[in-house]
Structures are given as structure tokens and as C-alpha cells.
Symmetry: C3
């Protein structure tokens, strides 16, 4: 483990070590007050995200470390036209670790190629956000003891919700996890995830109503449904009540149900649920901070590695994802992963296409 771009960068052994460390920190936080003393975290938020930003900063400070960086794209060097590569090279000169949020998909992977110090992906557009999944898993393991033999309901926007996709992937590491996928047709789970669950022998049920399945669940993971996802406002208005959790709908829920949400919520969980002891979404935010402490502490022990700065790729390939980092940072070498669906971009995991090779230019 060197960078955390995706949670799949961790082996299960590494994840279990990390969870053990997280648990130790939760139980005895005062033992870690000086664990990162003298270390500096570079915190680069190219788009605002108060929650994630505060969570990482607090985590570093509770380890006795320091934080420098920006939380606002307008105060960044990028405004002066600097490349991501140069910014990362500069910051990795100053800092011992870097946490980055960036609106371009694949930005974290790109950063990791040039950084002398570990990169933590705190969200690269709609692509990956591994420490959210780390927080989710910490919550489940800590409050339920295990993720095996679990019936989990995933409710809301299952089409675009990267949190949900990442959680499904990670739960493939556990035994007998059953999914209730609760979503309107417009926001149903993508086909490739259905295949993934089939291949991994994970049972799943797709349903359109929340209330009827609640009594079956051990965990209910709520997400937000965004108005903008619907063709018409009428359809949205007619549906949204169905996917809002209220106290009344919890009448027949299990006593040990865990109600989770990645936050911030808007109105998909009613205020009257907040005092229910099964509502653990605010605890989840606290576990997120502890999981990030464990991650920072683990990564801080790595030594600095000098990276080559000029990389040669495959100039006749182009990523088909318009939000991919390769379109704005054009010096990035194109590279691919072979999957059974075809050749996918090493940065953002979208399909690539073949293009005529550009003429050679020495200007770099």
C-alpha cells in the first residue's frame, strides 16, 4: 500500500490491519496524540467539501500533525495555469502526505504518478471516494461485529451513487451478503454491477418500494435522490416521498437495524428519525474521522520516493469520458487496463478509443 486511490489498493489483510488500528484509536485516542508529530499533510481541495476536508484535517491534528493547503480552487496555483503534475511535485516537496479532492475523474491516479509522498483520493469527480467506503465499513464492523450474513438495503440513487457502487464492490470480500436494491427505475443499479454480484455469488433483489423491505434489513443505507436526475419535475415529485425514511416507516424494523447515510442529507431522512437509536449516520461521520486517522498514521510511515516526471504513453488512444483528467492535463501518458468489456482508461476506468497518432512535437 503506497497510495489510496481506490479501496482495491488495499489487500484484505491490509484492510483488516487498518480496521484493527482504527478500533484501537477509537478505544484509546489519547495514545495517538503525538503519533504524527512533526508531519505535515498537504490538503488540496480543488472543489469545496467541508465535511471531508474538516474530517481529514481533524484526523491529522488529533495525531499531533499539521495541515497546509487550500479549500478553494480560486486560491490555488491552478488559476495561474500550473499543471496538476507541477502542483503535486511542489506540494510533495513540502508535505509528507497529500489528500486531494478534484472534480476531474482520474485526477488522483494522475497525481500519484508524480508524487514523492502518498496520495489519498478524497474524491475524483463522480469516480472514486475510497475513504467514504472505509468509514462505511468501519461503522458496520464496529456496530455489528461483522459484515458476514448481512441483509443490506441500498436506497435512493443507485445509478450514479459512487458510494453505493464502492460498497457493493467491497462487500464481495464477505460471506453471505444479500442486497435489497431500492430505487426508481430511472436510478436503478448499472448492469455491470448486476453482473459483478452474479459473478461473486451475492444475492440481490431489486425493488421499487422502501417500506415493505425495511423489516428484513440489518443495515439500511440511504442516499440522496437529486431532482436533476429526472426527465420531468412531476416524476420526481411523485416519487420522492417513497424514498424518504420517516419514523412511521420504521415501525416494523429490526431492533438492531443500522440506518446509515454518507451525509449531507437533504430530506431523504426525516428529522423525526434522528433520535432513534438505530440512526447511526452521525456516528458514521465520527467513525470516518477515526478511519482517516488510522490511514494517515499508516501512510505516514512510508519513505519519500523520487518519481520520474516525463512519461511516455500510447498517443493513439483517447479516453471516451469527457470528464477524464487526460483531457485537461494533456501531458499525461495514456495507458490502459484490459478488461473483458474492452480497453479501459487507467485513470478513470472508462473505455478508450483509437485515434490517429498526433504529430511529434518537441515542445512538451
Amino acid at each position: 500500500m503506497r497510495h489510496i486511490i481506490d479501496l482495491s489498493d488495499l489487500t484484505m489483510d491490509e484492510f483488516n490491519e487498518l480496521y484493527k488500528l482504527t478500533s484501537n484509536i477509537i478505544d484509546r485516542p489519547e495514545g495517538y496524540t503525538d503519533a504524527c508529530r512533526g508531519k505535515v499533510l498537504g490538503s488540496l481541495f480543488y472543489e469545496p467539501s467541508t465535511r471531508t476536508n474538516l474530517s481529514f484535517s481533524t484526523a491529522m491534528m488529533r495525531l499531533g500533525g499539521n495541515v497546509v493547503g487550500f479549500s478553494n480552487p480560486n486560491s490555488s496555483s491552478a488559476a495561474k495555469g500550473e499543471t496538476l503534475k507541477d502542483t503535486i511535485t511542489m506540494v510533495s516537496n513540502y508535505a509528507d502526505m497529500i489528500v486531494m479532492r478534484n472534480p476531474n475523474e482520474g485526477a488522483a491516479k494522475a497525481a500519484s504518478m508524480f508524487s514523492e509522498v502518498p496520495i489519498i483520493n478524497a474524491g475524483d469527480g463522480g469516480h472514486l471516494h475510497p475513504t467514504q467506503t472505509l468509514a462505511d465499513m468501519t461503522t458496520i464492523l464496529r456496530l455489528r461485529g461483522s459484515a458476514d450474513n448481512m441483509k443490506i438495503g441500498l436506497c435512493g440513487d443507485l445509478k450514479y451513487g459512487r458510494t453505493v457502487h464502492s460498497l457493493i464492490h467491497f462487500l464481495a470480500n464477505y460471506e453471505n451478503v444479500q442486497f435489497y436494491l431500492i430505487a426508481p427505475r430511472e436510478l436503478a443499479i448499472p448492469e455491470y454491477l448486476r453482473q459483478f454480484m452474479v459473478e461473486h455469488q451475492m444475492k440481490f433483489y431489486e425493488v421499487s418500494g422502501l417500506e415493505p423491505v425495511i423489516p428484513m434489513l440489518d443495515v439500511l443505507y440511504m442516499t440522496r435522490i437529486q431532482k436533476e436526475r429526472f426527465a420531468s419535475l412531476d416524476v420526481y415529485e411523485s416519487l420522492k416521498g417513497t424514498y424518504c425514511l420517516t419514523k412511521a416507516k420504521l415501525r416494523d424494523a429490526k431492533k438492531e437495524l443500522l440506518i446509515m447515510h454518507p451525509l449531507p442529507r437533504v430530506d431523504e431522512i426525516a428529522q423525526d428519525v434522528d433520535d432513534d437509536p438505530r440512526a447511526v449516520y452521525f456516528d458514521q461521520a465520527r467513525f470516518a474521522m477515526y478511519a482517516r486517522m488510522a490511514l494517515l498514521l499508516t501512510l505516514s510511515k512510508q519513505s519519500r520516493v523520487r518519481m520520474p516526471k516525463h512519461l511516455i504513453g500510447m498517443p493513439n488512444l483517447r479516453c471516451t469520458n469527457p470528464k477524464c483528467i487526460t483531457h485537461s492535463e494533456t501531458y499525461l501518458p495514456m495507458d490502459i487496463i484490459h478488461t473483458k468489456d474492452g480497453e479501459r482508461c487507467v485513470y478513470c476506468d472508462h473505455l478508450v478509443e483509437h485515434v490517429p497518432e498526433p504529430e511529434v512535437s518537441e515542445e512538451g
Copy 2:
């Protein structure tokens, strides 16, 4: 003492303890370098206020503590439509104390209802700003020894100046304080404060000129007069010179006069006053930092309290103050304080009105 929303949250014993601690810190700051080591202050500035923000941050750092937060509303989660309640719940999950500045009146009280950790009000609109009064009192006590038997001139905008109102309230705790209220008619002290001074046997004189009363004063508290307060620019221009303090006007002032100002000043105190040894407004800013150190240190010793999140109020009441926090954060339970003027909003202290009870909705 759990939160500091208003200075009236402190008993006189608690205030005296706090002042004693402040004095100790001023005399021996090096004894407090580690007093908040390992603690984190959440600093939530929903509107910019460099001075207050820097003062609190420095105070926390000089105690060996850390600070996370935002100084800019645009980088806050509020932009994503999160409620104040959820933001406070989240931050109180990460931080050990929270200092908040918010343009809505009553916001600090609202925050305190949901926070697991102490809330310090660093200004809620034009309503309250208790640590400014703490700084003012520290300055007076430290430089004069006592606030008893004091002739204090309050000059400038006495109608809207919350600093001045708060100081009058607090000085009711001392013996034989006499007020010279120096203001144009347009900006005279509100009637309820006149009544307050009468009830508390505090002598006061309302005058329209500054220069004639200066020789009588032990303390002169200057405030800014804002152009926008006047019906016409002509009236403002004709008056403003009267309420500007210059070196010439100090000719017959007492040798031990204290000239105070909450800062920032614009031109109500001329530059040629700055080197007068009686000009203590910059010292006042330094005392503010020490008073905040004492406050943070005292509050940091409290333990975390889990708060109920869903509160039921009086849905048939509505606050008449358009700037009240209850209008933007509509889940807040309306509650009242009975005063002899009528029923007042528990958040912002304005009168409430009766409205038809809204229909019950389960959506929270």
C-alpha cells in the same frame, strides 16, 4: 456554564473566575502553552470576520490546541443545502468546542441545542457578541483595577451598536457606574435600555456633543457611525465631525482616561490620537485574545453531551424578526420567554406573533 451564547450565561462568580484566569494568562502566558494540547476547536465563520477569527484561532493555538473550520460561507456545506443542525452535529462529532459567527440572529442559540460540545457565539447577526464584551471588561478591569465608580462615555451609534448595549447590561453588575450617552438623535439609545438603566439605578446623561463631556470621563468608548443609518447624506456629513475623536478634543481629558473602540475603526478616531498613552484600543484587541484563551481553556474541560435531535415546539407562534434563524431553519422548535413586554423568541429575543397552526406533516 456550558455554552457562551450571551454574557448573561455567566454568573458573576463565573465571570470573576474567568477574569482571574485571564489575568494569570496575561501575567504568565508560558504556563499555558500546552493547556489545550490535543484539543480541536471548530471555527465556523458563515460570514467573514478576520479580527474575531484570527483572535480565536490564535487563542486556541497559544494554548497548544488546533483549529479546523471555514472562514468563508462559500466553502461551507451550507452551500449544499445542509441544515445548521446537521452541520453542527457533524462538527461537534469532530471538534471539542465550536466557535461560530453567523449572519442570522439566534443562530448561536439554535446551534447550542444540537451540539455535543460547547458553542461560543462569535456574533449572530446584530444580536449578540459576548466575547467582545468580555474583552471590553477585561480591558477596564485590567487597566483601571475596577469598574465601580466609573464615568463612562459611550459615543457614536447607540441605537444599533450591539457592543454598547451588551456593555450597559453587564455594567449593571457594578456599583455607581454613570453613563454619558453621546449620539445624534437618529442614533440615540433604545427606550428599553433607558428603562433598564432606570431599573438598575444607573445614572445616565444623554448628550449630543462629544467634546464638552470628555473632561468628566474615566472611560470613553467610541463606535462607528455608519453613513447608511441616516436619511440623507447631508445630515450625515454635517454631523460626523462631531463624533470623531481628535487629539485636540482630548486637551482637557483626565490623565487616566481610557479610550476604547471595538475596532475596526474607520475615521471616528483620528490617526493623531494613536500615540496618546490613553488610547488603549489596540491593547483591547490583545486583551480580547487573552480573554478568549481563558474562555476556551475553561470550556475545554467539559465532557461531551449527547443531545436529542428532534425537538417539538409551539407551531402556532412565529418570530416577528425577519432576520431570525427560525425563518431559514424551519425545523427549529419555536419557544418563548415571557417578559413584561410580551412573549419573546427564545433565539433572537424579538416579539413573537400567533399564527394558525400548520397542518401536520410527517416528512419532518
Copy 3:
């Protein structure tokens, strides 16, 4: 040494001490982890500059100190109409040192007149940026052993580039430095610097091509050429390739050449140069942090000095530089330095002009 407004505030003995300390920190950083413990740096960035800001903040934190301030003019008190004098007086009340970046020329000098604590100039408009030169000199001395007997190429915008001007000035302290001044005619070195080099017996050659001189050089200092400097875009387009460094142009360069750049670069150094061991511009950024650590540590040992606040100048003089701080902060006393070119503004070093004395006003 009390403030660092210009590098000429240091004697050569002081500079050598500072470099020695910098070297010690580079060799043994762990020995300085607590060197500024309990100290606070006020960081006032009136215009964004991520690189300089992060570098100073990290430097302070690696000494165990703390940082408060702002990185964004919009969140500053200046928005409320506060003078620079009052802001500096306030911040010097809280902090133990102040680093300031300000778009007005002469702002750092103005700040130093009122500050109780040391001011470090992190750039005052296009005027001075002494810690950049400190970083440049640290890089040369550290990697080359000495700055004597050196052939240095300065390439790019030599007319407006303050970095380059400052470096020429400082290199007058060394023996047998020869300059190759590589620039288009439009951006040639100013006449006063030619005279300076003549007076100090420094050899220099002005050339318009980069490639031919590279083989002669021990150091090549690249800078950016801004499009906006040219009368027409056509001229810019036709020239820019000439002043871009590529791998190909380095074919006959010396093995021990140092390629430097103050960063951020845009495209004046091609990506294919980055992995050349002679490319030291990213190391230069790291040396900048260490040089700033040494500077902060040295300045932190000074004691607080109370400054007079009301200063009388020469009201019949006016600076001819429209960007001079004296035009926006009108209370600043005008004062001059006599040079052989005439009377120059003490703040921004431009010529002053005589004006009718303004009428006396007591309003300050």
C-alpha cells in the same frame, strides 16, 4: 536584522549565518521540530499565492509553530475599509511574526513601520520578493558550493522579472560572476541594472538566442515570458519557441549545469527536461522552504517593539508610481532616499515629484 523587506536588509555576515542555519536544517531537520513551539506566524495574503503561502506555512509548522491568517483578500478586514496600519497593528498584537503578500508596491515597508513584530515581505506587487532570492542563493550555494566564478544565464523576461533583478543585485557580493542576459529586445534588462553591473565590475553579455550560449553556462535561470508584454500576438508567437528550454537544446550543456526556475512555469521549460538530473527547479522549491525555516527561526528570537503610530512626513512630495502603497494608504508619511538619479520614494523606490502642500486637516 529586524524585518525582511528586501534582501539588502541583511549584511553578508547575516546572510552567511542564515545560509549556515539553512544548511544545518537541511542536514538535520529533526533537530528543529520544536524550535518555534508556542510561536504564531501571522500569514496575510492580500492576493493568492499558493506556493509562497504553503511554503511559509509548512516552514513554520516544521519548526513546531502555528499559523493564522488569510489567503484570500475577500475574507480580510480590508473589505471593511480598515487601513493597512490598523490591520498590521492588530495582527502584530496576536502574532509573533508576520509574513505578508500585497499587490501594492511598498506595502511591506509600510507595514514594518507599525508592526511590533518582524515583517517578512512575501512579495509587494512587482517590487520585491526577497525570500525567492534567498531560495535561489540557497540552491546555488548548496548544489554548487559557491557562487564565485560562475557563468549564469538569465533567460526570459528580464525587463519586468523582479526575481532576476534581485538576483543580479545579490550576486554583486560574489567574485567573478558573469551574466548571459538572454531576452528579446522588448524584454531586455533595464538600463539601471546595466549600470549597476558596470559599477560592480560584473561582466555581462546580452544575447537574443538561448541555444548558442547554453554550453558556456554553469547556471541557467529560466523565467516566464508573458504574452501580455508584447505589442502584438504575432511577435509573441514568433519568439516564444526561442526562449523555451527543451531536452534537445541541452545536448551540449555542461554536466554540472543547474537549471533553475522560480515556478510556476507554464511552457518555457518542456516536460522532457524534468527528468534531467540538471533540472533542479523542484529542488529549488524545497530549498525555499528550508531557507524560510531558517529565516523564521532567526526572526522569532526578537522581542516585541512598541512603535509610534502617528508619523509626520513630507506632505509636499508625491510618489510617481501609481501602484505605490502611498496612494491607497494616504496617512503614510512620505519620505525619500537621495540617489544620484534623484529623490526616490522610501516605500517603492520610484521617483517622487513635488506638489503644493495640502491644507492642514485635523481629522487625520
